[in-house]
């Protein structure tokens, strides 16, 4: 049986960030993950708070967070810890040589894969939204054979959202073999190819005649596989500094890099990562969790700790389970308060700008993020819930997902 100060369950952004913060506090940390976290295929930008309850874009996320009431997780975390969490995240990225841009007082307008914009707060260097403000000409860069990226659609989108800019597309050809015996080219394939010094020169060669001080090259998410901005800096050097990525459908390389960065930091800080750890139950004494249990096709493994961080995600990630008339968390067996009538869980008209009730369902906690039951009785004194397993917020409607993830992780670790 393994014994550590902190056991983190879940290897997505909230679990990885919590593990890194705990390890920075000189705690021995074991991270149990079953499957890689969704961060590896997600966009990698950090939304803090994008839209208010009426669907209006929020200008200053921090000011808006001050107005939130319980049970919203931000109201439990508090403004101070939200600020400190964002600083801690920015510092961690900087120390790892993969700095993020942005600050908590301002939302940025991040370009999307259909030529629109969405509000977000922190972005990697490859998504420097200031370049968009500066440049008057936009060149959407397509790669021949690259699937799931539609340069023409993006250009048409920008022609509506940025009517004063001059917009064009260009297709870069790379020496990919073609035919029925070859896989389609994904953004990750191109990103890996661009790590190669000769291939990147080939790309630059095809683009540099269009480069100028006010021309912005809009790339698919292909600007390098490793979180070190090496490929980005090379492209910027050759293209007057004006290079930006938009995210595309999975595998979206922007999140892949951020995931790789956090895993690297966790390993460097001595976090023991146990992959494919199927946590199925816990052992408790009163309200105190002693250990959690894992099992695959073998005997049971026990992981003992003083503190437990539950970062297993929501229904999509398997952190909570939905059944008829019931929703629950399966490891600590926590019932989630939901309407008995499943019809009330959802709003029947999709894409009408209305939030979905089920999106806010999750574990209810006290202000230190420890789970409580419907009578506000504490269920565990040493288990803290972080990320999407928390109830009381709608990450999709608010655009607050990664923000709640990093802030709840920070708030949880600050107390242990």
């Amino acid at each position: 049986m393994s014994k550590s100060d902190v056991v983190v369950i879940g290897g997505g952004i909230s679990g990885l960030f919590a593990a890194c913060l705990a390890a920075k506090k000189k705690k021995s940390v074991t991270l149990l993950s079953y499957g890689q976290g969704a961060l590896a295929v997600a966009g990698g930008i950090i939304d803090i708070f994008g839209y208010d309850q009426d669907g209006n874009m929020v200008k200053d996320p921090l000011e808006h967070i001050k107005t939130l009431a319980l049970p919203h997780p931000y109201a439990k975390i508090g403004v101070d810890h939200v600020k400190e969490a964002v600083d801690a995240f920015l510092n961690l990225c900087k120390e790892s040589n993969y700095p993020y841009l942005g600050n908590i007082r301002e939302n940025q307008l991040v370009p999307t894969a259909i030529g629109g914009f969405k509000p977000s707060c922190l972005t990697p260097m490859s998504i420097d939204t200031n370049l968009f403000k500066k440049c008057t000409k936009l060149v959407v860069v397509d790669f021949d054979l690259l699937k799931d990226f539609y340069a023409q659609l993006i250009a048409e989108g920008f022609s509506k959202t940025c009517p004063n800019k001059q917009i064009s597309t260009i297709t870069v050809k790379l020496p990919y073999e073609t035919g029925p015996h070859f896989r389609d080219v994904s953004a990750l394939d191109v990103a890996r190819l661009l790590e190669d010094d000769v291939s990147i020169l080939n790309v630059i060669e095809q683009l540099k005649s269009k480069a100028s001080a006010d021309t912005l090259f809009i790339f698919p998410p292909v600007i390098g596989e490793t979180p070190n901005n090496r490929v980005l800096n090379k492209l910027k050097q050759a293209l007057c500094g004006n290079v930006i990525e938009v995210s595309a459908i999975p595998p979206s390389v922007t999140g892949y890099r951020t995931d790789a960065m956090l895993v690297k930091i966790a390993k460097t800080l001595g976090v023991e990562i146990i992959e494919k750890a199927n946590v199925f139950s816990c052992v408790k004494e009163g309200t105190h969790c002693k250990k959690v249990l894992t099992q695959n096709y073998s005997h049971v493994y026990e992981y003992e700790a003083d503190e437990f961080i539950l970062a297993t995600g929501g229904i999509f990630g398997g952190g909570t389970v939905a059944q008829m008339s019931r929703m629950f968390e399966p490891i600590f067996n926590i019932e989630i308060d939901v309407p008995k009538d499943n019809q009330q869980w959802s709003y029947q008209y999709l894409f009408t700008g209305k939030p979905q009730p089920f999106a806010t369902y999750g574990i209810n906690t006290d202000e230190s993020l420890r789970p409580i039951d419907s009578n506000n009785q504490l269920l565990y004194d040493n288990v803290r819930v972080v990320g999407r397993a928390l109830g009381g917020y709608d990450f999709c409607y608010e655009k607050s997902g990664n923000g709640v993830a990093i802030c709840s992780a920070y708030h949880a670790i600050a107390q242990i």
Binding site: M1, S2, Y34, G35, Q36, G37, A38, A40, V41, Y176, E177, H181, F182, R183, V185, S186, L188, D189, R192, P250, P251, Y256, K267, E272, I273, I274, E275, K276, A277, N278, F280, S281, T294, Q295, N296, Y297, S298, H299, V300, Y301, G317, G318
Partner: protein, 401 residues
């Protein structure tokens, strides 16, 4: 017992995480990737017969299974589809030869001097280019045969009588290629007052046959092995493996492929040798009369160990030995993946996959490599200028026995 996900392609939510972790997809575009080849096309295969030659590119390394958040048995869906493919298409000569590892090993190690002749013969045929003719790569690091099999050597070891007994499943590689691993195991366990049993009725776990598309033949082996394993487990005897692939096949794949009930009776009694020793250490039961060794080792985690969900016991245990520093290579898959790295059509991919590990080991200031998996060790020694050992070697050395 935790309820695990069933063998169902619809477990897959098409998130594509497996594609990002697949070492083969990274090395070549001739492979479509785990999600499409496995669950996505399995749905179609349920409707129409599939004649997809791309199936040969899955190396069954199981990195897709490791990263899958939904518990989809992606690699097993691939292996099942490959086996179905070979019902209609001919096997290559290399697949026929390489999947007969057990018969070759048994024959060669049972005849005096046969291993010397076979090893020499292998060198000559390689040099003469005959390997390529049958579809095997002459560049791949082939194992050599031992003079005497492990079961023959085991009989000449006089073990102390101990109350505590474990059953050892040596697997073909320890039996016929590197019996020293098994000998080290017996000495290390004996030193800790544990007697090691072996059973002469065990047969090959079947891994090379699964890779070569002969799943039907494996069922026979699964029936034999699972009955023996269950009979020991019923007596409360723990089962020890040193080969991480054998362990995975016995614990998990017999269940995934054939739904053998007996698997559940014995898999809760199965332990990797180092995992077993680390558990003893954590309970304060392992002897720690280690000598100081003064060496640095670079550790490579086999993919087939990573997917079993118990971390890296070797890294923890070896670092308890005074004077031993073990660093984690963290350099991905070795590429060889059983017979995959030896067939001409996939050896090139295996070489690209394994190059990162080789480079990491070569450039490391460690004195030697250490790894549980037999085939991984061959790649770790391949053009790196370093030897690679099973962790039991270091432990036995530290005990000075």
């Amino acid at each position: 017992m935790a309820k695990l996900k069933s063998d169902n392609p619809d477990q897959c939510i098409s998130c594509n995480i497996c594609l990002t972790a697949c070492p083969v997809a990274r090395a070549t575009r001739k492979y479509r990737g785990p999600k499409l080849t496995g669950p996505a096309l399995t749905r179609l295969r349920m409707l129409i017969e599939d004649q997809d030659p791309m199936l040969q590119y899955c190396s069954n390394c199981k990195n897709c299974d490791r990263v899958c958040p939904s518990g989809t048995p992606i690699s097993t869906l691939n292996m099942k589809a490959r086996s179905a493919y070979y019902k209609k298409n001919p096997h290559t000569l290399a697949e026929k030869i390489l999947s007969n590892n057990e018969l070759m090993g048994k024959t060669i190690t049972s005849i005096p001097f046969a291993s010397t002749i076979a090893n020499l013969g292998m060198k000559i045929t390689k040099a003469a280019g005959a390997f390529e003719i049958v579809g095997m790569s002459s560049k791949a690091p082939f194992p050599t045969y031992a003079k005497k099999s492990f079961s023959a050597m085991f009989k000449s070891i006089s073990q102390p009588k101990c109350d505590k007994k474990v059953l050892f499943f040596p697997g073909c590689y320890v039996n016929y290629n590197e019996p020293q691993v098994g000998v080290d195991l017996v000495h290390v366990f004996n030193h800790n007052n544990i007697e090691v049993l072996i059973d002469d009725n065990f047969v090959c776990c079947g891994s090379p046959m699964i890779s070569a598309g002969y799943i039907d033949k494996v069922q026979h082996n699964a029936d034999i092995n699972s009955k023996i394993l269950a009979s020991y487990a019923k007596q409360g005897i723990d089962i020890i493996t040193t080969c991480t692939t054998c362990a995975l096949i016995l614990k998990q794949e017999y269940d995934e492929l054939f739904e053998l009930e007996a698997v559940k009776e014995y898999n809760v009694h199965m332990y990797d040798a180092i995992e077993y020793l680390l558990n003893m250490y954590e309970r304060g039961e392992l002897k720690t009369d280690f000598k100081t060794l003064n060496k640095k080792e670079i550790y490579h985690t086999p993919c087939h160990l990573k997917v079993q969900g118990y971390g890296k016991p070797t890294l923890k245990l070896l670092n308890k030995i005074p004077g031993v520093e073990v660093v984690d290579a963290d350099a991905g898959c070795c590429g060889l993946s059983g017979i995959y790295g030896y067939k001409t059509n996939t050896a090139e991919v295996a070489a690209i996959v394994g190059s990162k590990l080789q480079k990491t080991i070569k450039e490391s200031d460690a004195h030697e490599g250490v790894c549980e998996c037999n085939i991984c060790r061959l790649q770790m020694q391949n053009n790196t200028g370093k030897k690679a050992y099973h962790p039991l070697h270091t432990i036995r050395q530290a005990y000075g026995i």
